[in-house]
């Protein structure tokens, strides 16, 4: 009986490198790069590994942000960032077969470790941060796995609602 979680992964819509912030902006770049961005979208500052939401769009080169996990604003020049839609996503299925352990690896990553001889059998969900010390996302994955296994065998992929900890990436290594 093969079982999966069907996980919404919010689309990466913009990526770039911050330049020196202009005026009241918390994130500045050039070339009208923020044209597709709207209020509420998710900003992952990769260099500092901090998360923000778009609070307002001053124009297509300047945003103001709200920090989700204590990140410093404005973002300094050179910070690599990725912006994900708050609403648009694709769904990716993640195996819950032969799971040995699910861990809250960091505030913004949850790992699913499988029983296999290979070291590549660790799936990492990258998501909006849980509070420091919380294992809320781990609990959500565990609960979803439990629920999936008590459904009929024909329910191969069970919907997984991670909100408010929206998933922005899934990898296996």
């Amino acid at each position: 009986m093969e079982k999966f979680l069907d996980v919404p992964v919010y689309d990466n819509i913009v990526s770039g490198t911050a330049v020196t912030p202009v005026g009241s902006a918390d994130l500045t770049d050039t070339g009208n790069i923020f044209a597709p961005v709207v209020v509420g979208d998710i900003v992952h500052a990769a260099s500092s590994n901090k998360y923000f939401l778009v609070a307002s769009k001053i124009d297509n080169n300047n945003l103001t942000l709200t920090a989700l996990d204590g990140g410093t604003i404005p973002l300094t020049a050179g910070e690599v960032f990725y912006i994900h839609s708050a609403t648009a996503f694709n769904k990716q299925i993640v195996s819950i077969e032969n799971v040995k352990l699910i861990e809250q690896k960091s505030t913004s990553t949850t790992t699913i470790i499988f029983d296999a001889p290979s070291s590549v059998d660790i799936i990492t969900l990258t998501h909006l941060p849980v509070p420091s010390g919380s294992e809320a996302m781990r609990d959500k994955v565990q609960d979803a796995m439990d629920a999936a296994y008590i459904t009929n065998w024909e329910n191969v992929a069970s919907e997984f609602d991670a909100r408010p900890y929206k998933v922005i990436g899934i990898g296996i290594a």
Partner: protein, 93 residues
């Protein structure tokens, strides 16, 4: 229950790809979908180039895997039709 996708490959007829013990399916690039199995085996499906950022082929393969696993055990393989891009090769490593 052993299950396969039967995927049409240009000039090669149909090739079977296992649906068992899949851990993750990823859009590896604009021209590849990567299926990773338990134990680390990887099947790479190479296809005609898709738009940057598109995950249409991954989604199509995922949907086919789910549909196949929902079938009765006597339906071992599922003929995959209407893939958004033509498949030119399948390899395992």
């Amino acid at each position: 229950m052993t299950k396969f996708l039967s995927i049409p490959v240009t000039s090669e007829g149909n090739q079977l790809v296992s649906c068992n013990d899949i851990k993750l399916i990823e859009q590896g690039s604009q021209t590849t979908v990567v299926i990773t199995y338990g134990g680390g085996k990887v099947t790479t499906i190479t296809h005609a180039s898709d738009a940057s950022g598109s995950e249409a082929m991954r989604n199509a393969i995922q949907n086919a895997v789910i549909a196949n696993l929902q079938q009765s055990w006597v339906n071992v393989s599922l003929q995959v039709e209407d893939l958004p891009k033509a498949v030119s090769g399948i390899a395992v490593s």
